[in-house]
Amino acid sequence: MKIKVDYIARVEGEGSVKFNIEGGKLKELKLNIWEPPRFFEGFLVGRKFDEVPDIVSRICGICPVSHMTTSIRAIEKAVGFIPSLEIKNLRKIMSLSQIVASHLVHLYMLVLPDYHRLDMLFSRENPPSPPFTKGGKGGLLEEIKRLIRLKEAVNNVTAIFGGRPLHPVAMVVGGFTKIPSRDEIGKVIKGLESIKGDALDTVKMVSKLHYPDFRNNTEYVSIISKDDYAVNEGTIASSSGIEVEEDDYLSWFQEEEVPYSNAKRTVMKGRGSIMVGALSRLNIKFGMLHPEAKKAAEMIGFKILGKNPFLNNIAQAVEIVHGIWECIELLDAFSIGNYFFKVNVREGSGSALTEAPRGMLYHQYELNKKGIIERANIVTPTAHNFMSLEESLKKLVNENIDKPKNELSLLCEMLVRAYDPCFSCSVH
Amino acid sequence: MNQLKPLKARIKDIKLEAEDVKTYILSIEGSFAAIPGQFNMVGYPGVGEAPISFSSIVRNKCFEHTIKAVGRVTGFLNGLKKWDKLLIRGPYGRGWPVNHVKGRDILLIAGGVGLAPIRPVVQMILAKRELFGDVSLIYGAKNEKNALFMNEFDEWGKGISLHLTVDEVIQHPPVSRLGKGGNKGGWKHNVGLVTDLLDKIRIKPENTFAFICGPEIMMRFICRGLLMMGIAQSQLYVSLERRMKCGIAHCGHCQHFGLFVCKDGPVFSYDEVRGLPDGLL
């Protein structure tokens, strides 16, 4: 029996899963990310350093801020610019607000339909998804309205500092070109305060979904810091205790081409598959979460080192709470001042690692003395997850090999979605 | 009074005149008067407004607009049905100097939808035929499917002399709607350019006034032709088309080198607009 899911829906970008079952056994499984490659690393060469954030933000329509911050940090390292604490905090606000927004999109629009038949809203022509349902008792409109409230409040945060929530413009190498007035900041704080309840409801809603029982064998990786729940800066840590400095990334991680996929896959040299993203972050640095997020996690009985990738969704919901509360605190402490410094160009190279919504994101640049990019290297969360995802898919198929074809392929799709891959990013 | 605030008009009836061209018979509450050559801003909420000439004289709070669907506003209006409402404001502009030409010979020359603003002049002349001298209408359309008011021509022909032409005749489909059948696909008139028809008519230049409406480039050639025939510049009147947003000389779109087509026109005597920059006359 050959099964092919040609175009996995409700993920960002284009990818397919193909597998072949012979005599009740899985013979072969391939995750093919067939979205056409876009060659960012190619055409970034020859561009000027200050254009890079604007260009790389177009790698992804969900996590533009992550690509911007990562590239900005890498370039600032290359030219030896050290941003002030205020600028760092502001970048953290940007990243957190975007992580929350991305998780919201993922949970409500991409994941929920699997459990919930949200699809029905969109068309008469399409049959609803097969039922894996629990919950969703007619409260659909309620949920969409909640999503809109949440989304609007966090997008407003990204927008007042960045100019717009998608592909912001005020965040540049050297800081922020403009900062909003006290009044405007007061308004977004109010907005965030008003969605606290909605955030907790989201955690409850997500915790009630009926997740397939499954465990993967993979190493969880994220960045950590002793000061905070690291998002934009930190050292690499894994669930098996490894700690690596950001600058040593390349000696530990290796990117390789996959013959049947346009996306590359990244592994930890000599160690095998890794998983990055919300679940990994929670597994590794649960202790650094905002107390309210911890409370929310405890309320639903979330356990550290959950090995079920489907629970990534719960981890995301907990991070939503963390992001909102932490943003409020950072915004409360925000002081008006100088947020932009002119950066002097010089020859150099620099790299940076951040936590994008979907996990660890790496950018590395070499600049010549005119500030022109000579080499660019970008490793996305989806590349980090690629191998783990493929392995998990194999394991999932083997464990459910007796299920009917439809159900099996849907299960696979759901697993893919739980990893929250971004195919557009992966073929940057 | 806020000139930009429109009135509601009800579509009492719609006649299909030609391809993409419909005549809307409108009625409004309250008194309303307009002279031939003036126009309304016609529109609908959410779509906008377009300047449209009166294609009939106003009678019992009723008047007509004949509109060709070419863009956003006119395309939308084309989809409206009998009894729907639309918005109008007006009348605006300077019309044809009909009273000024009483007792004189009149040449009415139109091309395409340009016949719409000429029709109320015809109606006025026919109503008081004895007040005017010789009256001829020269009308050219792209083809017989594009010719307007064909079913009224027999009636008009009783009072004024008609010279009709099309650039080309389309045989298919047969044009039964035109009334009289016959050869040339049902077309019993001329084939060729309007300007060619000029050669066929005989006029007394000193006593003749011409009212012309059509594409500007056509009007250019007609005016040149009429000048050659000896009519004075000041006896030629043309109606110009420009983009308009307000109709009251505020929005500036229709400016034609110091003139506002909406307020100073749309009807101009030829010597007022001849040779102005950005114009074709």
Partner: protein, 354 residues
């Protein structure tokens, strides 16, 4: 009946002149705040902007020029809601009344005062624009004669400055006399409102005033001779200056038109709500430099960039038949704010050369 304020012309008011210490004048200004919104030039970074004032202390009366003229910001508006439609079974039409706050604009330079008088001709002519009309009536204009000539000013060549000559259509005129203002009352309501005594102005002060004007007049760097320009333009419709300026320099960005204090053109736009039930109709400034401006079905009367540039420049310098006056007030804004510095006075000179 006074065309502007609608008052019946009673006995003529006294066009008095007085010398008032600046301090006293500003105190008086602040006292108006209870009843009026005060608007005046305020320094913002390296620029000056006409803004609402909280106190006369914010005023920067020594300013040279602003990007937007006060008339186009506070009497005519760059953007303004006109109507709201609701569409259910019936179409309902609601007028959006203009906000008719009483306001005082302080420090309006002669060019900008003249520009307001020009806008009056358009919006208070045969058809009155009710939105403009209400604001115009509710605005007290306190003009200010210039003390400096900036790089692109040429008001002296077109009779619009640097000292204001118009006698009516505004309320007060200030001339800077170091620590005092020479204040001239130009309307009845100003006479009623300005109850400050002040020192009487005699012949010596008037002489001083005209000396100040003379010394300014000699410092203009930009000039233009508008004599016979109308005819000359008409004779040179296809002068090459249009073509090469348009192609080599004009960006069709419309900045010139937007900052011009006498450019009045607007576009009307409808915006439908997503539930399709309400429509907002508003207008905003439009520009003849824009490619769509003269587009109609089947053609565009100013398809060529050169034709659009010519329309703008000639509407400012020529086409005087339209309102009987020049379209330019010599403020030089279109030169200053044109990214490539296209200069209408230079264009005119090119044409005059031939």
């Amino acid at each position: 009946m006074c065309g502007l304020c609608g008052e019946l012309a009673k006995a003529p008011f006294r066009r008095s002149k007085k010398l008032v210490p600046k301090e006293t004048f500003f105190l008086w200004l602040d006292s108006l705040r209870k009843k009026y919104k005060l608007i005046g030039p305020v320094k913002v970074g390296s620029q000056t902007v006409f803004k609402k004032l909280n106190s006369s202390k914010e005023l920067f009366m020594e300013y040279e020029s602003t990007m937007f003229s006060p008339g186009k910001l506070f009497i005519y508006k760059p953007k303004e809601d006109l109507l709201r439609f609701s569409i259910n079974d019936e179409i309902a039409i609601d007028e959006i009344p203009p906000i008719s706050e009483k306001q005082v604009i302080i420090g309006v330079h002669p060019c900008d005062t003249n520009a307001i008088l020009y806008l009056d001709k358009i919006f208070l002519g045969a058809y009155k624009d009710p939105y403009y009309d209400v604001r115009r009536k509710n605005t007290i204009i306190i003009s200010l004669n210039c003390t400096k000539v900036s790089l692109n000013c040429f008001c002296s060549s077109v009779g619009a400055g640097p000292f204001l000559k118009a006698e009516a259509g505004y309320d007060m005129l200030l001339t800077d006399f170091e620590d005092k203002y020479l204040i001239e009352i130009k309307s009845r309501r100003a006479e009623e409102l300005f109850n400050i005594k002040g020192k009487r102005v005699g012949a010596s002060e008037l002489r001083l005033k005209s000396e100040k004007e003379k010394s300014l007049l000699s410092s203009f760097k930009k000039t233009i001779n508008v004599e016979g320009l109308d005819e000359l333009f008409m004779k040179n419709i296809e002068h090459p200056v249009w073509q090469y300026t348009a192609e080599e320099r004009c960006l069709s960005c419309s900045n010139c038109v937007m900052v011009c204090p006498t450019c009045f053109c607007y576009d009307i736009v409808d915006e439908t709500s997503m539930d399709l039930k309400t429509v907002r109709r508003f207008r905003h400034l439009d520009a003849c430099q824009d490619i769509r401006f003269a587009e109609v079905y089947g053609g565009n009367f100013r398809q060529r960039r050169a034709a659009r540039l010519r329309q703008f420049v000639s509407h400012k310098l020529n086409q005087t038949s339209q309102y009987g006056v020049l379209g330019t007030v010599g403020c030089g804004r279109c030169i200053t704010w044109c990214p490539t510095g296209i200069d209408l006075t230079e264009i005119a000179k090119e044409i005059q050369k031939s």
